[in-house]
Symmetry: C2
Subunit: 332 residues, 2 copies
């Protein structure tokens, strides 16, 4: 790798994977990709994420809520019980203390909702113009039931296993875009930003059918499905008409040319269910308000090519590729 860093390197698509492979994995001597979450010796899971969302406040949340929920969800989708969070603030000189108080309040509230404790923190202040208002990095630790380690690797997935998501796609990205561009939507769009650990916990505690989970953040469902097919070496087929997308989000996407499959979410998870268990998982998800619109959207195929195919509403089939450019920068 050479040249300069571009926005594409931060968007969770092809260039991000190049950066991870050619810089971080190579230099840090890793065999496994350097993801934002690692399972350590014993059953400790350790995760980190930087949040640079612009603007800081958007319908349904703010950078503080986002940072706590994002870290909780990272831990939860690895199958771990989130426990502790450390938060690191980089603040631009002149930032209003009142805004900081609102953001920190949201972090405290999100932590309480998720049942995690914020235990360590750091604050750096940089001069006016040296950062864009505020960035937050949250790190988290959680405990994994070692018997369920296969959830994070996806090693038990087989052809025929079913794909489930817990609700409609794209609300977070469109809510942030709306706040950034001060768009007025006829029907307001709110971020889906929420801690998913209780919903996921209910599923894991009451059913053994979960084979893999991943949160649908940067890169969206399209990015995650491509990562998954790469991990498995198998193909995936999803059904467009089964994928929930709220009407206002669909409208904005049509006007602005976005594909909801690639939009970031902050309260959505892809679950791979072993075949035959999908309805039990669906029922468990739907008992939680965060999963009321859960849907089975497709399945793993025996295709060794490893492509992700969508069957469109009009009866066609097309490939869903790994996202390679920026749709919307700085949505998390």
């Amino acid at each position: 790798m050479s040249g300069n860093i571009t926005l594409n390197h931060g968007e969770g698509g092809r260039r991000t994977h190049e950066l991870i492979r050619d810089v971080f994995m190579k230099k840090f001597g890793m065999v496994e990709p350097l993801t934002d979450s690692a399972i350590l010796e014993g059953s400790l899971v350790f995760t980190t994420d930087a949040y640079v969302v612009d603007p800081l406040f958007f319908p349904g949340g703010n950078i503080g809520k986002l940072a706590v929920c994002g870290t909780v969800n990272d831990l939860a989708v690895s199958g771990a019980l989130p426990e502790y969070i450390a938060c690191s603030f980089i603040i631009e000189e002149g930032f209003p203390v009142n805004d900081l108080l609102v953001i920190v309040d949201s972090m405290a509230e999100a932590a309480e909702n998720a049942g995690v404790r914020i235990v360590a923190g750091d604050t750096k202040v940089v001069g006016k113009g040296k950062c864009d208002k505020m960035f937050i990095t949250t790190s988290g630790t959680g405990m994994l039931d070692v018997a369920k380690k296969y959830i994070s690797t996806g090693e038990r997935i087989k052809p025929g296993d079913r794909l489930i998501i817990n609700g409609s796609l794209g609300n977070h990205a469109i809510a942030v875009l709306g706040a950034r561009k001060q768009l007025s939507f006829t029907t307001p769009v709110s971020s889906d930003c929420a801690p998913l650990n209780h919903m996921i916990g209910e599923v894991l505690n009451n059913c053994n059918g979960v084979l893999f989970m991943r949160d649908l953040t940067r890169g969206g469902l399209g990015g995650v499905l491509n990562e998954l097919s790469e991990i498995m070496g198998n193909g995936i087929v999803i059904n467009e008409s089964s994928i929930p997308v709220d009407e206002p989000v669909r409208g904005v996407c049509e006007i602005l040319g976005f594909d909801p499959l690639y939009l970031a979410n902050e309260g959505k998870v892809l679950i791979v269910s072993s075949k035959g268990m999908e309805n039990q998982i669906l029922d468990l998800l739907r008992q939680d308000p965060l999963g009321k619109d859960s849907a089975i959207i497709g399945e793993v195929t025996a295709d060794k090519g490893g492509k992700v195919i969508i069957e469109t509403a009009s009866g066609g089939r097309r490939i869903i590729d790994m996202p390679s450019g920026v749709q919307l920068p700085r949505i998390c």
Copy 2:
């Protein structure tokens, strides 16, 4: 608290403590101050720090080495064995990939020297002008010998106990300042940035006299001594002529009006030794190249006022107050 965030809020002095007390502790419902390091249930220690040093490269190190060493040292001074690090990058669009490679190389080297593993990471890219080149947040976990938990609380310190530092003060801050202002010193000044965990480990493994440790970063020795006297409720007296300061650093301080006691270090630790054990600790420290200039610099007094007093080289006595303003912003 109200108004706006100032550079002083990030400098580890009085305003930083106000911010921690009035915002973070209050909102996060904490009894203990929210420090960058927390001891969790069991023996897990968890720490986080953001690095915003300007410039990114300076004699003796760069932001990557600094971030890894800083987190290793945070863990080590709590008495823990540092084990795992997660790193989060915020990078400005257009940042040269070659510079990133050098920084990541330094991180890998520092991690190897310290014997820790970098296990998780995240990268966000923001537009040109939205951050100052690069910020890194490192978080770390380590294991604490629970029998030595008293080291992090300082609860066993008594009047008469001795204060030791492992070498001369201020080199890091002056090296960064020199690089930032492109000053040419007649004798070059290099940052002391280094992982201290092996040196500290040798002391802890071979001697039971360590009652407290703290790394002398933001706020310098003056800041740490004031925190310590606040924790203990006892006074401290230090002897100016016993405090090592390298000649070039002393010279720059005299010209620019800095006090080396408040300058940041990145490879220095304050150790409180129980009375009578100080020479054994000194011998152990001096066996390590990072501790060859170790010195006993003072002691804890029975004064309940809790002031930090320095006996000056000229025979006077003055109070060393908590730093209240910025000497040098963005040195870490």
